[in-house]
């Protein structure tokens, strides 16, 4: 989810590099980190195993500077590509605004590419989103290797949406920035479009009451008044029973009973006589 902070005047977007193991996701980030000017990028953080395989994620923050008064930032993440790290892969995907799918162009890797794309779709579904909707670009990496599939073959196999694709040799920087630029443009365009729409309701549900609220039950009357049905058809205002609801009336103070007044008079006379009747 793109974060817009009007106090800091800052826009922050999350881009995730997804794909099968050893397809070159981390290499993309390493190249960007190496070639971007120091003032435009933060440190590359890699949560990796001792053998430099991504264990959790790689993270690289980028700062595009001020655009129309908003400091625009990108957060680049990679996921671990190995099949058995799906739990962590899914966690990194949370809140992604755009996906770069880094496919391995070698013919022997086609099955892994397809499985990874399918896995991406499944993990997006876990968050309630669809692969068909999310900003996506493909990067066909390792174009320098001899036994590679053509871009047309890869498109036929993976790019069913017809989104932008880039041929790359990530370890030499070929196609790395083109891919990043493309996904960045798509994400920012979508952000502008979304911001132009009315603001959504707060996504966080309000705190629930501790006790179950009492349900008011309408009291049936012998001849209930007919309630006009609203266009939605499912809403009926509560009816109030005429037996329960009485209009307020002015109440006159009650007169004292006749006997009470006379008994008081006789008691007073007995008191004046010193208790003698």
């Amino acid at each position: 989810m793109v974060s817009i902070n009007y106090a800091f005047r800052e826009i922050s977007c999350k881009i995730v590099y997804y794909g099968p193991g050893l397809s070159g996701k981390t290499t993309n980030l390493q190249w960007v980190h190496q070639k971007m000017p120091r003032e435009r990028r933060g440190e590359l953080i890699s949560l990796a195993t001792e053998k430099d395989r991504t264990l959790y994620f790689d993270f690289l923050p980028l700062d595009l500077g001020s655009i129309q008064g908003f400091t625009t930032k990108f957060q680049l993440y990679t996921v671990p590509g190995q099949v058995y790290y799906n739990a962590t892969r899914r966690l990194v995907l949370r809140g992604a605004d755009g996906i770069v799918f880094v496919a391995d162009s070698q013919r022997g890797k086609m099955r892994e590419n397809m499985e990874s794309l399918q896995n991406l779709g499944e993990n997006l579904t876990e968050y309630g989103y669809r692969l068909d909707d999310i900003p996506l670009v493909f990067q066909y990496n390792k174009r320098d290797l001899p036994d590679r599939a053509s871009a047309e073959e890869l498109n036929k196999l993976l790019n069913y949406r017809g989104v932008p694709f880039f041929e790359a040799v990530a370890n030499r920087g070929v196609g790395v920035f083109e891919t990043l630029k493309s996904i960045s443009k798509i994400v920012l365009e979508k952000t502008t479009h979304q911001d132009a729409m009315p603001p959504p309701e707060p996504t966080v549900p309000p705190p629930q009451p501790r006790q179950k609220p009492m349900q008011s039950r309408p009291i049936e009357t012998p001849n209930p008044p007919s309630v006009p049905r609203t266009p939605r058809g499912d809403y009926r205002p509560h009816r109030i029973s005429p037996l329960r609801f009485q209009p307020l009336r002015a109440v006159e103070p009650a007169k004292p009973a006749e006997g009470t007044k006379r008994r008081g008079f006789f008691l007073w006379r007995i008191f004046k006589r010193g208790g003698k009747r």
């Binding site: 989810m1 793109v2 974060s3 817009i4 902070n5 009007y6 106090a7 800091f8 826009i11 922050s12 999350k14 933060g42 440190e43 953080i45 959790y56 994620f57 993270f59 923050p61 595009l64 500077g65 655009i67 129309q68 008064g69 625009t72 930032k73 957060q75 993440y77 739990a87 962590t88 966690l91 990194v92 949370r94 809140g95 992604a96 605004d97 997006l124 968050y127 989103y129 909707d133 999310i134 900003p135 920035f177 083109e178 990043l180 630029k181 960045s184 443009k185 920012l188 365009e189 979508k190 952000t191 502008t192 979304q194 911001d195 132009a196 603001p199 707060p202 996504t203 966080v204 705190p207």
Partner: protein, 158 residues
């Protein structure tokens, strides 16, 4: 995810800063960061100049997400508090509502108990601010996408 935006308005941000300042004053902690679960920084207070708060925010969100998976394996829905103890500095991490995480960095001038006490007080206030409706911002602006495209061409090359 890509449905909608996570927006913090100026009024909200000022109120959040007020709560974080009070938390730091009372608990004597060094600094605090409010982060959303996607790893974006919402607010920060205290001595943060020497910290890479962007990376710290991403790592806080990441560590919280991974402990949630651990909690699930133990049959819990989520762990609401994490505590990392270092030689000099420590960090107390707690969940605020459904979408945010509060990280408080402190040293030996205070204790984890004190921090935890005042964090609990602050959590309620922060949740109320984050869920409240605020005044709208002025919007990004119509020409934003075009200017952003130009900037991307400058930085990444045509």
């Amino acid at each position: 995810m890509n449905e909608g935006l996570s927006v913090i308005y100026k009024g909200q941000s000022e109120r959040i800063s007020g709560v974080l300042r009070k938390l730091l004053r009372e608990s004597e902690a060094k600094c605090s960061l409010l982060v959303d679960k996607d790893g974006h920084l919402i607010a920060k207070q205290g001595f943060t100049h020497s910290l890479d708060t962007t990376s710290l925010a991403a790592l806080l969100a990441g560590s919280f997400a991974s402990t949630k998976e651990m909690a699930k394996l133990l049959g819990e829905s989520e762990f609401s508090v994490l505590f990392h103890e270092g030689k000099k500095d420590n960090i107390h991490v707690s969940l605020v509502g459904q979408r945010s995480i509060l990280g408080v960095v402190f040293d030996d001038r205070t204790t984890v108990g004190m921090v935890r006490l005042y964090v609990r007080e602050a959590e309620g206030d922060l949740e109320e601010i984050l869920t409240s409706k605020s005044e709208g911002g002025e919007g990004i602006g119509v020409g934003f996408a075009d200017q952003a495209n130009e900037r991307l061409d400058q930085i990444f090359g045509d």
